[in-house]
């Protein structure tokens, strides 16, 4: 446990001092700021069932695909390329401690980005909102949506970490993470849009596909519905990815 704490503190410090993190933060805030601005603009012109915050969160996939791979790509790939991972593994610290420390540090940075995003609706509410009318910041949607980001982020970050474990190239790790996250995010929706129920030989896929509906999970969380199934899905997926990451690191070393 001491190794894990030491490694986690080191990873957080490294992330804080890394230009890569700051570039990713800038990109994230620019993306989400832009999306939120257009959501506010749209909301002011057309009456919609969705609040600006809800409309903005609906685009969570954009930073997920463009920013998260930037955060995780270097975690192992760069260390393997430079050889510092081998040096790290000559200490009594276990591979699992190294993987979990890198994972939790990346997850913490990812959540910090989203917490920074909350400043947008809160500032808009403070500047433009009227007392008693919280539609501009919609706290229940905002914090519910952030809970979804935090829970699903466990799996998303672990996928990024796993992708970084299998290559020495940071760029390739980012590309692998992009493709994997795109597949995961789109899979549920794509499978649902297909009439697989009517295809006898694919009918069995309907039930699993229903569990992969990422956007439905966001809707549930933002609507205040706490369903245990997506939580189990994301947490078991996370454990699976991190387990594979440990095996990948040990296998390559």
């Amino acid at each position: 446990m001491r190794h894990f704490r030491t490694l986690l503190a080191h990873e957080l410090r490294t992330a804080l001092l890394s230009g890569n993190t700051w570039a990713a933060a800038g990109l994230f805030l620019a993306l989400m700021g832009g999306i939120h601005f257009f959501a506010l603009l749209e909301g002011s012109r057309i009456a919609s069932e969705r609040t600006p915050v809800e409309a903005t969160l609906w685009f969570f996939w954009l930073p997920l695909l463009c920013v998260l791979p930037l955060l995780t790509m270097r975690s192992f790939a760069e260390e393997r390329r430079s050889g510092t991972l081998s040096a790290l593994l000559t200490t009594p610290a276990s591979t699992a401690a190294v993987v979990w420390a890198k994972f939790l540090a990346a997850w913490a940075v990812w959540i910090t980005f989203w917490l920074l995003f909350t400043l947008f609706p809160l500032l808009v509410q403070q500047r433009l909102g009227t007392p008693g009318d919280t539609r501009l910041s919609d706290p229940s949607v905002l914090w519910g949506g952030l809970c979804f980001i935090a829970v699903s982020g466990l799996l998303h970050v672990s996928i990024g970490i796993l992708c970084s474990c299998v290559t020495r190239s940071s760029a390739l790790a980012a590309l692998l993470a992009f493709i994997s996250l795109l597949a995961l995010t789109a899979a549920g929706g794509a499978m649902e849009s297909l009439p697989i129920e009517s295809w006898a030989w694919l009918g069995w896929l309907h039930e699993p596909a229903a569990h992969l509906r990422t956007f439905a999970h966001l809707q549930d969380f933002a609507g205040g519905i706490l369903d245990s199934r997506p939580i189990v899905l994301y947490s078991t997926g996370t454990l699976l990815c991190l387990g594979l990451a440990v095996l990948a690191v040990e296998g390559q070393e």
Binding site: R2, H3, T6, L7, H10, T14, L17, S18, S82, G83, T84, S86, A87, L88, L89, T90, T91, P92, A93, S94, E253
Partner: protein, 329 residues
């Protein structure tokens, strides 16, 4: 020291170590040991399997078969236990460029289970021992010269006062002053830690090591003290002779005392003086009387000196020998 376990007979044990990559065999049935406090040179041509062996001993790579143990702890069965007794500096000494020396060593000390209250003391100590304290402690590792980077690697290796230190090419790329510094540092470890050191600079190894292990094509070809290896691998006795006599005259004179003697010209004639190498069988009594015999035969001598074979000659003789016939001493 981290471990209170009593001192084992051997600090490092490699027993029939084998590593295969598909059809390629990197090392095969490699067996050797390092005693506590002993400094052992690990030699072999490029691609002989030195780094592979060191990585298996360090626990960063698993062997295909065989046994590796550090201070009595199996590297395969208890890697964390073995790593607590051992420090490994890999070839090229990879270091994080964006950390400061003191900060890096502090992190490594914590990861190497140095007691929290001793971390600062140990970091200061190894920085002082490796001459890093005044000029490099606060500098970014990425800005350090090659020599200082090597020093950081060695300081890291010494941090937790391990029983065993494995250094893969610690002097590679260093200038003669830096090599001298590293040599003194390694020499100061004699009796305190078992050191296994690989190097291509054979002169360095000869200066520092108590014993050498020589491998070729993944197999052990020789191990033992340099003097023992010299006697075993290069049993003949040679002299360098500088004389006015020609080769035939010298050979004739040598044959008077030793019929099996051979003469090889070494250097071109300069101002009438020729240099030859005279080789005699190991047990020839002529080795003690050659100079007198040559004088009696009227050979005018300017110089006669016994050739002392260095580690380089031993290394060449050992690696020329068939790797299918490993020898032990």
């Amino acid at each position: 020291m981290n471990v209170t376990k009593p001192s084992p007979e051997a600090a490092v044990v490699a027993e029939k170590l084998t590593k295969r990559y598909g059809s390629l065999t990197a090392i095969e049935n490699l067996s050797f040991s390092v005693a506590p406090g002993e400094i052992v040179g690990f030699l072999g041509p490029n691609g002989a399997g030195k780094s592979t062996t060191m990585r298996i001993l360090a626990g960063t790579m698993s062997g295909t078969s065989g046994r590796a143990a550090i201070w009595g702890v199996s590297v395969a069965l208890d890697p964390a236990g073995a790593k607590r007794n051992m420090a490994y500096m890999p070839e090229n000494n990879p270091l994080p460029e964006d950390m400061r020396v003191e900060e890096y060593l502090t992190l490594r000390a914590k990861l190497k289970d140095v007691a929290s209250e001793r971390v600062s003391e140990r970091v200061d100590r190894v920085m002082a021992d490796c001459d890093l304290a005044r000029r490099a402690a606060g500098r970014l590792i990425g800005q350090l010269s090659k020599g200082f980077r090597q020093r950081v690697g060695i300081a890291d290796a010494l941090l937790a006062e391990p029983k065993v230190v494995i250094l893969d090419e610690p002097t590679i790329g260093l200038d003669p002053h830096q090599i001298l510094g590293i040599r003194d540092l390694i020499r100061s470890l004699r009796g305190k830690m078992a050191v296994l050191i690989s190097s291509h600079i054979l002169h360095e190894v000869e200066q520092v090591c108590d014993k050498v292990v020589i491998i070729n094509r993944g197999r052990l070809v020789a191990q033992g003290r340099t003097d023992d290896l010299r006697r075993e691998l290069l049993p003949d006795c040679s002299f360098t002779v500088t004389t006015r006599a020609d080769e035939a005259a010298l050979l004739g004179a040598c044959h008077r005392s030793e019929p099996a003697a051979t003469v090889t010209p070494l250097a071109a004639t300069t101002a009438g003086w020729n240099t030859f190498r005279v080789s005699l069988p190991a047990d020839s009594p002529a080795r003690e009387t050659l100079a007198a015999e040559l004088a009696i035969a009227g050979i005018s001598l300017r110089e006669i000196a016994e050739v002392r074979y260095g580690l380089e000659d031993i290394f060449l003789a050992a690696t020329r020998r068939s790797p299918t016939e490993p020898r032990r001493f």
